[in-house]
């Protein structure tokens, strides 16, 4: 089972992913509850806690409907006296920002840690926001581990600080901590402590934020903030090594780049490791800056510490130059790297960084963006949609969303005109419907994303009579982030039985009149349903909803392996193939290749047996090597993940 190293025996050294180390830290700290919404690079934290929970019977773990509810759920658990954790990717914190700010005012009688997994370099995100600003903004201390072992220790320290002050702590991790595997020494897990035995105790003046209470709590918050700042200076997570008049201030992962770069260059410098950047711990900084004339700050994301440090130096009347990301010693955008660190230190210390010049082979390489998997149910939906739109002679605006189907932006599909944030497809469609003359918005949204934040947009569309076609791509899982369950299926995070909320019934209850469910693997079925729905939208000037159902093929394949069902493999009959190219261009299945005469050929290793190519070929050239079984045909349409 993936992530089972999260339960490594005490004292053992094992290789684990940074996110698994965070889960391990939370278990060692004795959490009783964890909630999250999947999103790279955060997803494996809840997965790993679920694995532990499956073996130990606790803590309680849930995949929540979105980040706001995840945080509220953890907040409620902590108000009930149970140490709890909420996990999300950086942009998820935007969704959860409302309860986050209140959380700092009320605090809780227990501990609560909010994990924000930031994504510098935007490996799988729409922006590069640095969530340490939330710490500054909301008065919540931020702990930021430098590596994998530190991720475990920092998590434990975050819970310790939170429980000492009854105040939330943000654990800020970044892609290269979360998704780096490294050696971790396992500590002690007390299974008894993980059992949530909570009880809510009423405290009106603290937990009800009416203005009279909130004003007093604001004063308390500011006073607590100062005490927390003093506490952070004493944190075992921070340390100072070496001497000299140049200080390399390594914040979180920045420390690793600073330390290794200085060693490679042989530059003598003082190196400070700062893993509690917010609020800036002043007595620690006084020690670090003692006798120093220049500071180079290494941090992932924005120059947060750099900016605060300048203010600190000004207030304290110190005479120290500060360099980093804001003045070009390190780049403003993107991830840090050893080469960038060596260049920056070299420039400041007057040393040639001696970087090698890599040799490029001078080849013109084609790009390889991620693509919809062979057998992906969306691959048939997109051509069906485009055909119907052409036939209906409507001018569409494809309002896209966040999920695997975002890949529909790439050629040949090109059916995502906007991709901005979770739920944005329906949200933006409301405004487009009202204002874009002669155009009809087609909102394309996945099932998990619809639950996350599509429902409210649809309520708005019904109420305000905003004409749009909403296509809900229901692949029965949160696919992009690794096949987590969502509220639409009857499995929970721990693989336990859950209640699946019926999307069709929900949409009808909202008041959408035209609702159709269609088989995603049938291009003709999709084409017909879209044509009818567009007709309805144009005629009635109201929203219509199409639910395209078909399981994520990767989930179907893994269930097939478990159940002993053999998916078929398809092949091309070369006598029937007329080299029309549709299957490998317009349909673009990665399992179908062009051979020399322009005809098509299937790579049997990549073919997943979805059979949609049979539907796309005008000349009936595709055929199964063996007739597909009924059980596979059904599984492709019904498979759901087994939970985490």
């Amino acid at each position: 089972m993936p992530h089972e190293e999260v339960l490594a025996e005490e004292g053992r050294r094992v290789v684990m992913l940074g996110n698994v180390a965070i889960a391990r830290g939370a278990l060692e700290a004795g959490i009783g509850d964890a909630a999250g919404y999947p999103g790279n690079p955060s997803s494996e934290i809840i997965e790993a806690v679920s694995v532990a929970s499956g073996k130990l019977g606790s803590p309680i773990v849930e995949w929540s409907v979105n980040e706001k509810v995840a945080l509220e759920s953890a907040y409620g658990a902590s108000l009930s006296g149970v140490p709890s954790m909420a996990t999300m990717k950086h942009v998820g914190v935007n969704v959860a920002a409302d309860p986050l700010f209140s959380l700092a005012y009320t605090g809780t009688p227990s501990s609560i840690v909010v994990v924000s997994a930031d994504d510098p370099g935007m490996w799988s995100s729409q922006n590069e926001q640095d969530n340490r600003w939330y710490g500054v903004h909301a008065y919540i201390p931020v702990v930021e581990p430098s590596g994998v072992q530190d991720a475990k220790e920092a998590t434990i320290e975050a819970f310790r600080i939170s429980s000492e002050y009854g105040h939330p702590v943000i654990l800020r991790t970044t892609t290269r901590v979360s998704h780096t595997r490294g050696v971790v020494e396992a500590g002690r897990i007390d299974a008894e402590k993980l059992r949530p035995r909570g009880r809510f105790t009423r405290n009106l003046e603290r937990y009800t934020l009416i203005p009279a209470h909130a004003r007093r709590l604001r004063e308390d918050l500011l006073e607590r903030w100062d005490r927390i700042e003093e506490r952070l200076s004493r944190s075992s997570l921070n340390k100072i090594e070496g001497g000299g008049d140049l200080l390399l201030l390594g914040v979180g992962l920045g420390y690793r780049y600073a330390a290794e770069a200085a060693r490679l260059l042989g530059v003598e410098a003082r190196i400070a490791k700062l893993q509690t950047p917010i609020p800036l711990p002043s007595s620690f900084l006084h020690k670090a800056l003692d006798g120093v004339s220049k500071v180079l700050v290494f941090e992932e994301g924005d120059p947060v510490v750099e900016t605060l440090l300048k203010s600190f130096i000004h207030d304290e009347g110190l005479d120290v130059e500060v360099h980093g990301r804001s003045d070009g010693y390190l780049p403003r955008a993107g991830e840090l790297g050893l080469d960038k660190a060596m260049r920056a230190i070299g420039a400041l210390a007057g040393v040639d960084p001696g970087l090698p010049s890599p040799v490029e082979p001078g080849l013109d390489l084609p790009p390889r963006p991620p693509a919809l998997c062979p057998g992906c149910p969306y691959r048939g939906v997109f051509p069906g949609l485009r055909k119907a739109v052409r036939r209906s002679r409507v001018e569409p605006v494809y309002s896209g969303d966040i999920g695997c189907y975002s890949l529909g932006v790439l050629p040949p599909f090109r059916v995502q005109d906007t991709i901005v944030e979770m739920g944005g497809s329906i949200g933006l469609a409301n405004g487009i419907a009202k204002t874009a003359n002669g155009q009809i918005p087609v909102a394309i949204i996945g099932d998990s994303t619809f639950f996350h934040s599509g429902i409210t947009g649809l309520v708005n569309a019904v109420h305000n009579r905003n004409p749009m076609l909403v296509i809900i791509l229901d692949n029965r899982t949160t696919a992009m982030t690794g096949h987590q369950p969502h509220p639409g299926i009857d499995v929970g995070a721990m693989g336990e039985e859950a209640v699946g909320v019926d999307i069709e019934a929900l949409v009808k209850a909202i008041g959408v009149e035209h609702v159709r469910v269609v088989d995603a693997f049938s291009i003709r079925g999709v084409e017909k349903a879209v044509t009818e729905a567009l007709d309805y939208v144009r005629r009635e000037r109201r929203p219509a909803v199409l639910i395209a159902k078909g399981s994520c093929i990767l989930v179907a394949l893994s269930q097939a392996r478990r159940l002993g069902i053999k998916p078929p493999v398809y092949r091309v009959n070369p006598d029937k193939c007329r080299a029309c190219t549709v299957c490998y261009t317009a349909f673009n299945c990665p399992a179908i290749f062009r051979v020399e005469d322009g005809k098509a050929k299937i790579n049997p290793v990549l073919c997943t047996g979805c059979g949609v190519c049979v539907d796309i070929c005008p000349f009936d050239a595709f055929e199964p090597v063996e007739e597909p079984g009924k059980d596979w045909i059904l599984l492709m349409r019904t498979a759901t993940p087994a939970g985490w």
Partner: protein, 202 residues
């Protein structure tokens, strides 16, 4: 600065698994290791690169020009990340080109890629790993076959000895009998290849 291994290929080829096998073997042999992975979007048949750093290292990423070995599970992707290598370093390559599923692109041939890499000064060791793994009964064992091949060439000695790697294959991969067999098959092919090269040189 430790021993730096770049693993490159197409999402779904078992690149992260290869890296886990390496990491596990390094730890079992008493070493330190960091593996920086690509998850999420990049897994969907896209270009994938994983950085494995062995020894006394701190930073997770291998900077351009500082890699010691590239294990390429696919030729285009190997060529894409070759700039991470020190000039002249070895490349162990699965002799296979998977054209990206994009309309209207020109795809270089395997021979052209290998020739260009050699002309750029890299030492290319190539093997039809997918075909060899298919012969053993599971094309997906291509990744461990290629690890065995690199190990047989002595290129993984600074990470872990072959026995430790094979043990790690068995630990990391469930139903691993073919995967372990593939590892040793790759190892033998490497030894046979080096013998031929030696003879030719004589």
């Amino acid at each position: 600065m430790g021993y730096n291994i770049v693993l490159a290929g197409v999402g779904g080829q078992g690149i992260i698994t290869s890296a886990r096998i390496l990491a596990d073997a390094v730890l079992a042999s008493g070493g330190n290791v960091l593996v920086a992975e690509t998850h999420g979007l990049s897994q969907r048949g896209g270009s994938v690169v994983v950085h494995v750093r062995v020894g006394d290292v701190e930073a997770p990423l291998i900077p351009p020009g500082m890699g010691d070995l590239l294990i390429g599970l696919e030729a285009i992707e190997a060529a894409r990340y070759v700039n991470l290598l020190k000039p002249g370093s070895p490349i162990t390559l699965n002799a296979e080109v998977q054209p990206p599923p994009l309309p209207k692109i020109t795809v270089p041939s395997l021979d052209k890629i290998i020739k260009a890499l050699r002309e750029a000064g890299y030492t290319v060791y190539s093997i039809p790993a997918t075909t060899e793994a298919s012969k053993l009964g599971d094309a997906r064992s291509m990744n461990t076959l290629l690890l065995g091949y690199a190990s047989g060439l002595g290129l993984l000695d600074q990470a872990a000895p072959p026995e430790a790697l094979a043990d790690s294959v068995a630990r990391v991969i469930r139903r691993s009998s073919i995967a372990v067999k593939a590892f040793w098959h790759g190892f033998k092919l490497a030894t046979a290849q080096s013998m031929t090269t030696l003879k030719r040189q004589r």
